[in-house]
């Protein structure tokens, strides 16, 4: 083959660059489209709901009158359910991920489990709701409580946390594990001093992605029977109850509740259009909750990763 002349080389490069630029333009266009849609949605909610962004909106219970209705029981309910979800799903998910990566032998059984964890992530959330209704609400007698809801959502996000944990563990170089084992550490010591701490940023990201998904879930929560109209808060630990007795530390987990998405759904289904303003405002608050969770995740991951270099 004859070597290319300078002109020919330049022509080849120019043709390549043209394709580069074409792709770049397409990419920017698609990105812009997606961003515009999101910004428009948020802006729409802010504009529609602007009348309700007052302190009262956050401190009032639901009400028959739209202007006086607030989201107190909804946001408190959402936070408490998330707390239960995190307390249940994080230890389980991390332990399962750790076991699968560090302890389990590779055989057909672990392969089967692996495939099914991926499948679980794809199960529609309403199915988890049905499962929880049967098991948590009736079988275990947990009722239509914060505990039932938290456990249900914990099941829902368990696969996300397991997968995140495993991926974070896989990113740790083998030589770190070997370095630990070589001084005589057991597997458990290696996990405790190295694997878990170094995987933590990745695990944390998974946890928050999971919680961000859970906080917006409506279907399974409705299935297990969250209330749509509730004018009291779960009993705070050690507070004095109506009958003069003192609430236990964990009485709140058995309390009935509602959550943000259900409150929103409830308002949108009212005939009075004034409630649409409430729905829009609450939608924005929910959105802000999710975004701030993501922000916290990004911040923590950045802080923790700074010290983890191989």
């Amino acid at each position: 083959m004859k070597p290319l002349t300078t002109e020919e080389i330049r022509a080849v490069i120019a043709a390549g660059k043209l394709r580069d630029n074409l792709f770049k333009a397409t990419g920017v266009f698609c990105l812009a489209l997606a961003l515009i849609v999101i910004v428009a949605l948020v802006a729409d909610m802010v504009i529609k709901g602007s009348d309700r962004f007052t302190l009262d909106f956050f401190l009032n219970f639901a009400s028959r009158r739209a202007t006086q209705a607030g989201i107190l029981s909804a946001w408190v309910g959402s936070l408490l359910v998330m707390l239960v979800t995190a307390m249940a799903a994080v230890p389980l998910g991390v332990a399962a991920g750790l076991y699968l990566e560090e302890y389990a032998k590779r055989n057909w059984l672990t392969n089967l489990i692996e495939i099914n964890i991926t499948n679980l992530a794809a199960v529609p959330s309403i199915v988890y709701g049905l499962l929880a209704l049967g098991i948590f609400v009736y079988q275990f007698g947990l009722g239509q409580s914060i505990l039932s809801a938290g456990l249900t959502l914990a099941l829902l996000i368990l696969p996300i946390i397991i997968v995140a944990t495993r991926e974070a563990i896989r990113a740790i170089p083998a030589m770190i594990r070997e370095g630990s084992m070589a001084v005589g550490a057991t597997r458990w010591q290696t996990c405790r001093y190295h694997i878990v701490p170094y995987a933590m940023p990745g695990i944390l990201t998974g946890v928050i992605i999971g919680l961000a998904r859970a906080i917006g879930e409506t279907a399974p929560i409705i299935t297990i029977g969250a209330l749509t109209f509730i004018a009291f808060l779960p009993p705070a630990p050690l507070s004095t109850l109506g009958d003069g007795s003192t609430a236990g530390l964990f009485d709140w987990v058995m309390a009935p509740f509602t959550v943000m998405p259900i409150q929103i759904f409830n308002w949108t289904s009212r005939p009075d259009p004034a409630f649409e303003v409430n729905a829009a405002a609450a939608g924005f608050v929910l959105m802000a909750m999710v975004l701030s969770m993501n922000a916290v995740a990004i911040f923590l991951r950045y802080k923790m990763r700074k010290n983890i270099k191989w």
Binding site: K105, R106, P173, M175, I176, R177, E178, G179, S180, M181, A182, V183, G184, A185, T186, Q189, Y193, H194, Y198, N307, I308, K309, W310
Partner: protein, 259 residues
């Protein structure tokens, strides 16, 4: 000096075979390792040096499908390191290892060295301080890090990191120290420092070192073993191996006709 008198045995491989699954990587290896001496393993890439080295601290047990046959006797207690009933963790507590690429943990310099002690249940601050200082001095890095023990180990230079890894291995007083090409990722000056250190270390610990560098083997070792395709071709005193090797294959390798 009694260099030529009978040295004491520290370990001995007897009819050692090793398999990665079906693939046989070590073929009937017999070789002594002498107490408080440096033994170098040389041979072309892929001949099984690392495989052999990692058999001593049962590193292969970490991965499924690996299998040993034969024995590695460890003295003075005459334990077979490879015996099924011998706990690999116990073996690793007696035998330290330094890897090809420095692999400090992403923790402080202090914690890196203290780790082996913590694993053994030592949590007394005074004892840890003492032993960490001793190990860092032993690894000739104390003066460079004594004012910043709380700093991250990953901020050290490559050569310093490798000496830190040596300190980590020394902190627990191993009887045998394994080095797998410890200087292959380092520049000549850092390499010189490690070689000097090895010379110093053999006063108190037995050393088995894999190296690709013929000059290094000649400089640091008392004994040299030449491996080829999973076999131990020749073992002897380093000066004898380098000056008049008995096996044609050793001679070819040393004179640079291959490898």
């Amino acid at each position: 000096m009694q260099i030529h008198d009978n040295p004491t045995l520290k370990a001995e491989a007897r009819n050692l075979n090793f398999f990665y699954g079906e693939a046989k990587a070590l073929k009937n290896i017999n070789m002594p390792i002498y107490d408080k001496k440096v033994t170098a393993l040389i041979g072309p890439s892929g001949c099984g040096k690392s495989t052999y080295l990692r058999s001593f601290n049962r590193m292969h047990d970490l991965y499924p499908g690996n299998r040993y046959e034969g024995e590695i006797r460890f003295f003075p207690d005459n334990t077979n390191l490879l015996a099924a009933e011998v706990d690999p963790i116990e073996v690793r507590m007696r035998i330290g290892m330094v890897f090809q690429k420095p692999n400090p943990f992403p923790k402080s310099i202090f914690e890196n060295v203290a780790y082996g002690l913590r694993v053994r249940g030592e949590n007394n601050k005074r004892v840890l301080d003492d032993k960490v200082e001793h190990a860092l001095k032993g690894a000739a890095i104390w003066d460079e890090v004594k004012d910043r023990l709380a700093d991250l180990a990953s901020n050290l230079s490559g050569g310093q990191q490798q000496r830190l890894c040596i300190a980590r291995a020394l902190a627990t007083d191993p009887e045998l120290l394994l080095f797998d090409e410890p200087t292959s990722a380092l520049d000549p000056i850092a390499t010189g420092a490690i070689e000097e250190l090895i010379h110093e270390l053999k006063k108190r610990v037995t050393i088995l070192i894999v190296t690709h560098n013929m000059q290094q083997a000649a400089r640091v070792s008392d004994y040299t073993a030449y491996m080829f395709l999973g076999e131990m071709v020749e073992f002897g005193k380093t000066d004898e191996i380098f000056i008049k090797p008995k096996d044609k294959r050793t001679e070819d390798y040393i004179t640079g006709r291959m490898g």
